[in-house]
């Protein structure tokens, strides 16, 4: 959505490279979350191990994006929509890195669960997973397309994810009381649910940054008076 060409071709190249790295990082993060959850649902330790191993690449991309962003700020001193795009890209990378950390945590919890007989209660996590991934994908779409409406819509969906997590946690705690032998397993599922709830929080942050990049609107903390 970067309209006219900059008078400095090198600026367009630098900004394009920054955005590409953010999209690459988003793609890897999405893949890690999918692999971690598939590792959980299919009881596949290999997928869990791959997720954990891939985290390093995502960490490296975060550092690269920060370096490239600082480099652009230093060399070109962008303003207006250019400045917002650079700042948002850097904030996105931070959120993506934390999402990938959640994927790693899920993979570790899944490996622990896979050592024991399967728990049917794992299905309580599926609606949360679907909802969190849908928020994540839409938040990235909002950033790529600079779609303010989609960004705002993602933010409103976080509440539903919190409710799903609350419901799943309540049911799992009930199961703990009924079946104390599986307490560790239920606890691991609660932690997986919490990870997905945080994925939703990061997707919300990304959607908010996407709205800022596109329209210079700060939609965070709506109860506070706008300062821009």
């Amino acid at each position: 959505m970067i309209a006219a060409k900059h008078i400095l071709g090198t600026f367009d190249e630098a900004l394009g490279a920054l955005r590409n790295n953010v999209l690459m990082m988003a793609g890897l993060t999405e893949r890690s979350l999918e692999r971690a959850m598939k590792g959980l649902f299919d009881r596949n330790d290999d997928l869990c191990a791959t997720t954990i191993a891939d985290d390093e690449e995502i960490d490296q991309l975060e550092k690269q994006i920060d370096k490239d962003g600082v480099d652009i700020l230093l060399r070109f001193q962008p303003v207006a929509s250019d400045l917002r795009r650079v700042v948002s890209a850097m904030k996105l990378s931070s959120n993506l890195e934390r999402m990938a950390d959640q994927a790693t945590t899920i993979a570790r919890r899944a490996r622990k669960l896979n050592r024991h007989p399967p728990l049917p209660e794992v299905d309580l996590i599926r609606p949360m997973y679907d909802h969190a991934m849908s928020m994540f994908k839409d938040s990235i779409d909002a950033f790529v397309r600079e779609d303010v409406d989609l960004g705002c819509a993602v933010v409103t969906r976080d509440e539903k994810l919190d409710e799903l997590n609350h419901d799943a946690s309540r049911k799992l705690i009930e199961r703990m009381a009924q079946d104390p032998d599986q307490l560790r397993g239920y606890l691991n599922l609660i932690f997986v649910g919490r990870c997905l709830e945080r994925v939703g929080d990061h997707a919300t942050n990304i959607a908010e940054d996407a709205v800022y990049a596109a329209a210079a609107q700060d939609i965070r903390h709506p109860s506070l008076t706008a300062t821009t």
């Binding site: 303003v79 210079a216 008076t225």
Partner: protein, 277 residues
């Protein structure tokens, strides 16, 4: 036992002034209304209406030939020095029409000082003489008063400590940055109400530029400053308000933070982001 560590909040510097969330309308120094200016047949300024806030820095930006220097000069009638100039509209200084038939342009230029792109100390005068020449031309002869005004002006221009022992040396013996500050001291000596600056740093190195920028920041506590600049980063750093001119028209005017983060007009966005034309 060592001294107990301070809490985190205790390390936070407290602001000296409570920031105001409300935004009361600023007091105005200039009110330009429907100003148009022609050089012969060529229209340089096209129906510009712009209010200049008091004790604030207003930056005028725009591509070469957009009329920003012409507009600046219209604020102290200096554009009239160019032959075949014609103007329409009004410019009020503190509510008084600068172009009223009873107003002496020389008085206007004393009230509204101007700093130019290239520093222009009088080459035959010493540093001291350069500063007080305006007062002398206005008939001030009291040497004690002149000495006091000389020191005060040089101090305000952040030059006193560098030249106090060399006041007898030629003004042109100073470096480019010092010469520019000398010109600022010369403008301040007649105690103007407003200082206009036409690309005051464009011929200076980064250190001299930084000194002028700091000076501008300090001077705005006492003076209204309007500056023309081609340097977008400088406009962002030093100004409170920014006006974007294009082809003689005022395209957008507003708080600098707004103009440089979220301009309303596409032409402004294209210009400041380097996508013009």
């Amino acid at each position: 036992m060592t001294t107990p560590e301070r809490g985190v909040m205790e390390r936070v510097e407290q602001p000296t002034e409570t920031p105001s969330n409300g935004e009361p309308a600023p007091a105005l120094t200039f009110q330009a209304k429907n100003v148009s200016i022609w050089y012969g047949e060529k229209r340089a300024i096209d129906n510009v209406t712009l209010d200049v806030a008091s004790k604030a820095v207003t930056a005028i930006i725009g591509p070469s030939g957009c009329g920003k220097s012409t507009f600046l000069r219209a604020l102290n009638r200096m554009h009239e020095l160019t032959p075949k100039t014609r103007m329409e509209g009004t410019v009020l200084l503190h509510g008084e029409d600068l172009y009223s038939g009873t107003v002496d342009p020389a008085i206007v230029r004393r009230r509204v000082g101007m700093i130019f792109q290239k520093s222009n100390p009088f080459p035959t005068m010493t540093i001291g003489e350069n500063v007080i020449v305006g007062l002398r031309l206005n008939g001030v002869r009291n040497q004690k008063f002149l000495n006091e005004r000389l020191e005060k002006s040089l101090r305000m221009a952040a030059l006193w400590d560098e030249v106090k022992d060399d006041l007898h040396k030629p003004g042109t013996s100073l470096s480019g940055g010092q010469q520019q500050r000398l010109c600022i001291a010369r403008a301040l000596a007649v105690e103007p109400e407003v200082i206009l600056m036409d690309e005051p740093c464009s011929a200076l190195d980064p250190i001299a530029t930084a000194k002028i920028e700091e000076l501008i920041y300090e001077l705005k506590a006492r003076y209204t400053i309007v500056t023309v600049t081609h340097n977008m980063q400088q406009a962002g750093r030093i100004s409170d308000y920014t006006a974007f001119f294009y082809l003689g028209r005022l395209i957008e005017f507003g708080p600098t933070t707004k103009i440089f983060t979220n301009p309303t007009e596409k032409q402004t966005e294209d210009y400041i982001t380097g996508r013009f034309g």
